[in-house]
Symmetry: C2
Subunit: 331 residues, 2 copies
Amino acid sequence: MRVTINDIAKMAGVSKATVSRVLNDSKPVSEEIRQKVLDVIEKTEYQPSSVARSLTTRKTKLIGVLIPDVSNPVFSKIIEGIESEANKHDYNILLCNSRYSEEKELKYLDILKDKEVDGIILNSYHASDKVSKKLKAIDKPTVLIGTQLDQTMYPIVRIDNEKAAYEAVLFLASSGHCKIGMIHGPKHDPIAGIARFKGYCAALEAHEIQLDENLLYEGHFKLMDGYEGAQKLIKMNPEMTALFCANDEMAIGAIKGLIDLGMHVPDDISIIGFDNIDIAGIYAPSLTTISQPFREKGKSAMRVILSLINMEPVSENLVHDHELIVRESTK
Amino acid sequence: MRVTINDIAKMAGVSKATVSRVLNDSKPVSEEIRQKVLDVIEKTEYQPSSVARSLTTRKTKLIGVLIPDVSNPVFSKIIEGIESEANKHDYNILLCNSRYSEEKELKYLDILKDKEVDGIILNSYHASDKVSKKLKAIDKPTVLIGTQLDQTMYPIVRIDNEKAAYEAVLFLASSGHCKIGMIHGPKHDPIAGIARFKGYCAALEAHEIQLDENLLYEGHFKLMDGYEGAQKLIKMNPEMTALFCANDEMAIGAIKGLIDLGMHVPDDISIIGFDNIDIAGIYAPSLTTISQPFREKGKSAMRVILSLINMEPVSENLVHDHELIVRESTK
DNA sequence: TCTTGACAGGAAACCGGTTTCCGAGTACAC
DNA sequence: GTGTACTCGGAAACCGGTTTCCTGTCAAGA
């Protein structure tokens, strides 16, 4: 049987209130008794039950982290950041992998309520009304990452996606490209979908390039979307000399797709991605891309959650810096 | 204030025992009363506190997953597998990222004890005595993945690393290579370190090739280890025509390192990796490698944990199949 | 010497569930 | 009509902590 606070109290000849006080330094205890209690605790290797403690304190020291896909490096880096910051402050992570399914998102929100997590970090793929409503009902400190919920008052940790995309496409245009295609994300995604597309449009406009529907392809951020999209676009537009992809995975798919058509990157066509995942730097050719600080975003989100939990004002800067990393895939 | 079982009991005019019975179907309740209780529950959107439940049932429905690095695709795929199986059975994942540090491993084991998880899935990088001892003290259902703990009686989910490495190197030797280098893992790692090296030796022996110390380089599974290792080996052994790397990351580093020296893969040298991570298939050249089913291993581990928790015999097959995937990096 | 206040520590309530134990009511057999 | 068995539901104990409230002791001040 497990050692409980009652056992310790009996063995030390004190009440369990005293044991609790020694454990938490919540009220002064004479040095003599404190030592006796500590001795017994050490001898028995007693470890208080966090479940019991949570019941009275109403705190679980658990942060629910809801993301679409753990095995996507974009999200796993965020998790890593969250974890490192959480760990520093004795919080733990309840991992919720929604697999891009709204149903699972909703189910996990129920679970998070049930588990009484102290806070929620949400990277929702389906930022739907249902999600928003459920989140409100849970009524816990919440931070969003790369997600926009309508009429929301939750802090959002993000980068300026539109500006970043603008810079990427501007770089292509400034290098002399004028037939610039884009493999963009789905329209229902306000961040990686819409915002990056807007940046693309703005950059074209800045260089007085007409937006051409034929140079657009919609993907879902998957490798094969890039592969197929690039092949389709280049067949329809042989004069296309540059391609901006809404994420690195599609960009690498695009490179592979073009190589398989016998083309050369960047000699025949320049490719630029978004996110700067690890592969981007080591792919051959290495990928020019927009780098965003995933780990830092995770840490940042966690710090905001801590502020919210402790009812402190949120001093954290929510908009992180991005950076254009020029590598071999463009010229 | 939160709605509790007491509120429901009062509103429905029954005792809280009855509410509990309706909730859990633990004892028959007349249809009339059941309906009344269910109505109240629905109206109030009552959700029982899992913390309180855990305190009495001694079950938290939490599985502690301790791994060295979430952002490494090898581990995140395992996690994905664990999650999908856990989710099916209403278990949740407490994520523990040890960052390859023994200190953090030990700290997390304390946390897992404190949190009273129902089971532990451990992928330890430092399978030390301390870890082993602490694990024993926690005394919870435990499964190891890709980890060997001395004198342990925990089930180990794994592949036959030695055989897999043997097959990889045999493939090279059978293709006519006789100067085959290896970038292996550290010696303290019984699985990815020792076992894969043994397979290499065995394959050489099968082809009566003398083991040559000069063709060996020790890395820590990082990209740069492969990069530097490959460059060093080829400079020392210009006659080397094939290189086996203990994981894909080092293999890709190796390719990059050799390309940067002006060499061609596979024309000048064949490279073979291990793990078949996503990049392996899309890298240019794509990587010949040993594929192992990470997701399946994760699922498998979770199923074993479930069996252990439910005191059922473990029927799961613990040794998974690997497969040699021949791609462009070898000839 | 008596009062007052500070302080250490114990008893008990409480958190929100589950489960045991028991009693009331009903049905059936004799 | 009485004894018996069975069903349903309530009271209360319990899980292992925290916290409030109270009591006893001792030192300082009047």
